[in-house]
Symmetry: C2
Subunit: 243 residues, 2 copies
C-alpha cells in the first residue's frame, strides 16, 4: 500500500533514499501500532536491525521527535510518544483549523481527476471495514485527509496536516473508547464530504469537515484520567489489592 507524500523533500541521491526508507519503516511501524506508545527505541538495536550506524539512526529519531511521534529525553533516549489528553485536544483543535482552510482551497481548485482519486480511496476504506482490517482502515482514513491537502496544493498546510494526522493516530491508540461504533460512520462522513466538494459548496464542505473532526474527538476517551492512571480503572476504584 502506498500513501500520499510519505517522503517529503529528498533529491534522489541513492544514499538519502536509504535514510528515508528506514524513516518510513519506523513511521509506519508506529502508526500501525506495531510500536506502541512508551516503547524504548534503542539506538544500538535499531542500528543493528537496519544495518547502519547510530549516526543515521539518531538523525531519523530526531526527525521523528520533531514531528512529535517520538519523544527524546536527554541522556535517556528515544521513546514512542505518549500524547497527553491536553495535547490530544490541542491537536484536534489544530486539525479543525487547518483542515477547514485546506477544504476551502480544495473546493475551489479541485479537478475531476481529484474527485476520482478521493472516491478510489473511499472504496478502499469501505473494503477494509468490511474485511475488518482495522489498522489498514486507520491508514486509509488518514490518507483521505492527506489527499485533500494535496488537492489544496498548499505545501505548508499539507506538511502540518501530515504531522497532525500521524499524531492523531497515536492519540487514537491511547484514548480509544469502547464505543468504536461511530468509526464506521466516518466512512459515510467522508462520502458526504466528497459530495459537497463536487457541488463546490464551500461552506457546506467546511461544516461537514468540522463536524467530522468533532466526531473523531467525541469518539475518544479524553475526559477520564490519562492512560498512565488507567490502572485505577482496570483494578476498580477500591482500596488495596493484597489486603
Amino acid at each position: 500500500m502506498q500513501f500520499a507524500s510519505t517522503v517529503n523533500n529528498a533529491e534522489k541521491t541513492s544514499r538519502k533514499v536509504h535514510d528515508d526508507q528506514i524513516y518510513d519503516q519506523m513511521f509506519a511501524a508506529i502508526l500501525q501500532q506495531r510500536l506502541t506508545p512508551g516503547t524504548k527505541l534503542s539506538e544500538d538495536t535499531l542500528g543493528e536491525i537496519f544495518g547502519v550506524s547510530r549516526t543515521v539512526i539518531r538523525k531519523i529519531l530526531q526527525r521523528l521527535a520533531y514531528e512529535k511521534v517520538v519523544q527524546i529525553l536527554p541522556n535517556r533516549g528515544a521513546f514512542v510518544a505518549e500524547p497527553s489528553a491536553e495535547e490530544a485536544r490541542e491537536v484536534l483543535y489544530a486539525r479543525r483549523v487547518v483542515e477547514a482552510a485546506i477544504m476551502r482551497l480544495a473546493v475551489k481548485s479541485h479537478s475531476k481527476e481529484d474527485l476520482k482519486t478521493l472516491e478510489r480511496n473511499l472504496e478502499a476504506e469501505a473494503k477494509t471495514i468490511e474485511a475488518g482490517q482495522h489498522s489498514d482502515w486507520v491508514a486509509l482514513s488518514g490518507n483521505f485527509h492527506l489527499l485533500l491537502a494535496e488537492i489544496a496544493s498548499n505545501r505548508t498546510l499539507a506538511d502540518y496536516l501530515r504531522e497532525l494526522v500521524s499524531r492523531t493516530s497515536l492519540i487514537h491508540i491511547q484514548y480509544q473508547s469502547n464505543k468504536i461504533a461511530n468509526q464506521s460512520c466516518s466512512c459515510d462522513e467522508h462520502a458526504d464530504i466528497i459530495e459537497a466538494i463536487r457541488e463546490r459548496d464551500e461552506d457546506k464542505a467546511v461544516a461537514l469537515m468540522e463536524r467530522h473532526i468533532e466526531e473523531i474527538e467525541k469518539s475518544l476517551n479524553l475526559d477520564g484520567r490519562g492512560a498512565a492512571s488507567d490502572l485505577y480503572e482496570i483494578f476498580g476504584a477500591s482500596g488495596g489489592v493484597q489486603g
Copy 2:
C-alpha cells in the same frame, strides 16, 4: 533583548542548553539579516566558531532545516533558505488561518496581565520605530504575534506560528518593496488589535488580524520575478551590458 519561547523543550541538562544556545545564536543571526538568504553554512567553519564538533552543528542545521529557515542540499551542505514567491504566499495564507484561530482562543482566555504584556511590547515597538532601529522592530513585531500565541495556550498552534513568523522574516528580506511606508502603520494595527481583545470582540479581533496579515502581504513585492532574477531590474530591461 529576550523574546518569547525561543527555546522549546529542553530539560535543563547543562549540555542540552549549550546546544540550544548555539541554535538561538544562529536563528537570531538569520532573522536579524546578519546571515542573508543563500549564504553557505559550512559545518567546519561553524564548528570552529562555536568550539564544537561537526556532530552538534549538523544536529542544529537539521533542526533549522526542518523549520524551513535553512535548506540542506545532499552532498552540498546547508544554506540560509531563499523562499520562493509561491512559498511566501503559502506561508502568509497559513498565517492567516493559524492566527485567526489563535486570536479566537486569545480573546476568550486572556487576562489583564496578558493585556499589559501586549501593551509593553507595543510601546517597545513604537520606540524602535522612532529610533529607526529597523531590525529590532522586525523582531518585536514578530514577537507581538508570538505573545498572542502564548496567551491562546495551544502549544501546537504556537509552534506552527513560531515557524511561520521566522519564515516571514526571511520572506521580508527577499521581497521587501520600496513602499516600506505602511510598515509603520503596522504598529497602529497592533494597537487596534489589542483594543478589540480588550473589548472581547472575537469577530472584530479576527477581522483586524486577517486584514493585518493581508497588509503584510501587500507590502511585499511578490508579483515580479523572484529575487534570483532581480538582475534584470537592477541593470534595466535593456539588452547587452558590454555593447
